[in-house]
């Protein structure tokens, strides 16, 4: 039975853009897109695609579909995933999808249900812009499937998904029945570099585009309220405590710390 894996990918502002180019609009509570800095695929999501493709390397009849929720420009991350080796791409784009992590998880789960006939859903552990890290598990809850987090290796064995799950001291091996959802962590390795032949084929592939109506999405409102968005300004005041000798300086420092009730 050929497997069908769905990978969720998000397009994010470039996390490696120079810090000086990052600005927020406090009033609108939005990040201002930096001029001349192109958005990129969220790195953990690229690894989710990589995990799917590694399963496909082992079983060539596996089908990999990537889904992205975002603006029209998010097509680029779908194309990139196709160039890596994914088979189909779906773009969810609609003003109605704007909201919070719950909205995103709801929309994605509806799309996944519409695609249907899947064995495994792979997501990055968190998006590299907001780093909320809940959409993946939200999707699993909404779909009613088991979820395993922080995968460093994902394989299918005897109709089950086997995940090596990252721990601080090593890793656990976790099995789950299919269909299941797994979130992927950076310990998985490096996403593969697209071969030119595949870039060319991806360029010719059609991306399916769905709006809220296509997937039967009805927003139930946001569950998280963004109170304030701002860039903290860190001010550093450094006072060097002097002394004639190192001992004297140390004494003076200790006295200052005590005066400030730090020690």
């Amino acid at each position: 039975m050929p497997l069908h894996i769905i990978a969720c990918v998000k397009q994010v502002p470039d996390p490696e853009a120079p810090a000086s180019s990052f600005r927020v609009d406090e009033a609108a509570k939005k990040v201002i897109a930096a001029a001349g800095v192109a958005p990129v695929i969220s790195q953990f999501d690229a690894l989710a695609v990589e995990a799917a493709l590694r399963i496909k390397d082992a079983a060539a009849d596996t089908k990999v579909t990537v889904v992205s929720l975002g603006p029209e420009g998010a097509r680029d991350v779908i194309k990139h995933s196709l160039a890596m080796g994914a088979d189909e791409g779906v773009l969810l784009t609609d003003g109605a999808f704007e909201g919070d992590s719950y909205t995103t998880a709801l929309a994605l789960s509806k799309a996944i249900e519409k695609i249907g006939d899947y064995n495994l859903v792979l997501c990055g552990r968190q998006a590299t812009d907001w780093d909320a890290g809940v959409v993946g598990y939200g999707i699993a809850e909404l779909l009613g499937v088991a979820s395993v987090s922080l995968a460093k290796a994902v394989t299918i064995q005897d109709g089950k998904v086997v995940v090596e799950r990252v721990l601080m001291e090593g890793y656990d091996t976790v099995e789950a029945p299919l269909p299941a959802l797994v979130t992927v962590s950076n310990e998985l390795g490096e996403p593969r570099y697209p071969k030119l032949q595949q870039i060319m084929m991806a360029a010719r592939k059609q991306v399916t585009v769905w709006g809220a109506g296509d997937i039967g999405f009805a927003s139930s409102g946001v569950r998280a309220n963004l109170e304030r968005l701002f860039q903290p300004v860190s001010e550093v005041e450094c006072e060097v405590v002097e002394g004639e000798t190192p001992d004297e300086a140390a004494q003076k420092l200790a006295q200052r710390l005590r005066d400030q009730k730090i020690i």
Binding site: D14, E16, P18, G36, A38, V236
Partner: protein, 693 residues
Amino acid sequence: MAPSTELPGNIFFYLIIVGFSAFFVLTIAARLIPFLQAKGAPRFDHLPQRISDFMLIMVGQSKFFRKKYWYSGILHPLIFWGFLVLLIRSLNMLLSGVADPLSLQHLPGGIFNYWRPVMDLFNVAVMVGLAMGAYERFFVKPQRLTLNLDAWRIIGLIFFLMVTDILANSFELDLEAKKEAWSFVAYGVSGIWTGMGLSHNAIGDLHATFWYMHLTILFAFLCYLPYSKHSHVLTVAFNVFFHSRERTGVLQPINIEAMMENAEEGATFGVGKVTDFNWKSLLDFMTCTECGRCQSNCPAYLTDKELSPKDIEHHGRMTLLSKTPTLGSLLKGKPATAGEPLNLVDTMGFDSIWDCVTCGSCMYWCPVCIEHVPEIMDVRRYLVMDEARMPETAQATLMQIEQRGHPWRGTQFSRSDWMQGLDVPLFDGSQEYLLWVGCSGSLSERNIPITQSLARLLLQAGVSFGVLGEEETCCGDPARRLGNEYLFQMQAQQAIEVMKSKNVKKIVTACPHGYNTMRNEYPQFDGKFEVLHHTELLDQLLKAGKLQPKQGIAETIVYHDSCYLARHNDIDSAPRRILESIPQAQVVEMERSRKTTFCCGAGGGHMWVEESKGRHINHARTEEAMGTGAKIVATACPFCIQMFEDGIPALEPDEEKRMRAQDVAELLEAAVSGAVGPPPPATAQGEEVGASL
């Protein structure tokens, strides 16, 4: 004079000629098959220049007259010119064998007589050359040579050719009615036979013996050539004539758009199998004589890496022969290739393909015009574009260029940060020059002060220039050198479009890689600009008196030539003139300088790619620079200076004793404006202490 020109006496003559020639022609026919099936290469351009290059390099043996290999510079021309001169004698043999009236002795005015002493002289000269070669192979045994039996067979065959030539002629003189001394060597030898009192018949028999021996060895040698590394004798004339007339830093484009439109199954990008090479590369493989100059001057090889350009050519030859029908199979009517075709990447070695820094030293030293670098790069392109197999750092760099338009991952600078505090305008078409800052010049910490020095010098000299600022993107050089021709073309086309839209005509840049790409490779994509390196422009400004170095730098300065500047683009005098214009500066040279410069190690994308093993190339070069005792190493390339900045502290832990690395522009600015000493560290705009997230 032939022993006989009538039947039945001359039957051996025809048997030898026809028999060996048939064997030779069939062997060559079999060998030609892969060439006829190979990709084309446009080498039929500029025929008059090709002819003059050919006369200089091949006939004139110009690539042999270099001090480093002076010994071969004597022995090889002796043998080669002897070969050319004695071709006349061989021709005469064939003519006289057919019919005596055809022989050259009967030319009017007896003009053949004037050639006879030349030929005899070369009989001896060739043997001297052979003796020199034998001495080198037997006693000196330089590391670059492959010491095999094949070479001794060649030496032996040529030696016996000369011996039988002299002997046959000496006997012939005794057979002639009037013995003339034109062939003075044969004349002298013939005195021995006269002195021995041999009968006329005996001399006739001896003459016939050595005449036929000479003829047989000649044709046997011809037939042996395709099976020997000496096959260059057959191919070198073509290899030199069709050599690349492009500058050595240029790589040829792949027509990716055309391939995208006709997406055929099995069409690969780059070269994965030997049959994907163009015919000139195949010719290179068959022309390599394993002299090893390429290897002995390769920075990768000299730092104990896997790569040897000589081995690349050798493996090319072996894989080619594995795809070449043997004579036996051809005669059976089934020109099948013997055995499984060898995998090109496995044969040449993954590391070897990636070790190359594209410095071009191999091609500079090769006496037979082999083009090693494009061949290695062809396989690298296959690895990257077709198989996506590359070192991790190469992959990260290519992704970086694709996603962010520059190779400097982790930079906190933007492309216009360096302009702070400087009155540098944006280019709007009204200025004379576009100052192409480059990715390194704007995003790399060590290079920003150099860009600023250059900008200040240009402003002071009143040069009309502007910059692209944030609109500048990577020129594409790292992508091309890392093998991603597709990414390169996208970058190049984007850059060309931006520059054309702003009506850019002249470009000046401080980066030799950008210089090389924009000047020599952008024309491939219809981007034709007048490109100057910053040292060329600064040199012009000095000559015109627009910049006056008044402040002295009383230090010893050693200048390091960037490969992409000196070897690939012949720019080595302008930077030196700039340094010499600095009062009190003492400019010294390393032995490996100008066109023989030793790579800093950052070419071929290696600025971003780790070395596979062995010693660091930049350490080797830094050591060489330190060996001159200079206090400052001057560079004119953003990569070279970073390589020295890394190598100097690694080799000299004591800060006080360390050599300083400075760009020529920084030194000139210090001399012009009086700010002496190392540049202040650059700071990113908006960077605060402790601001990292």
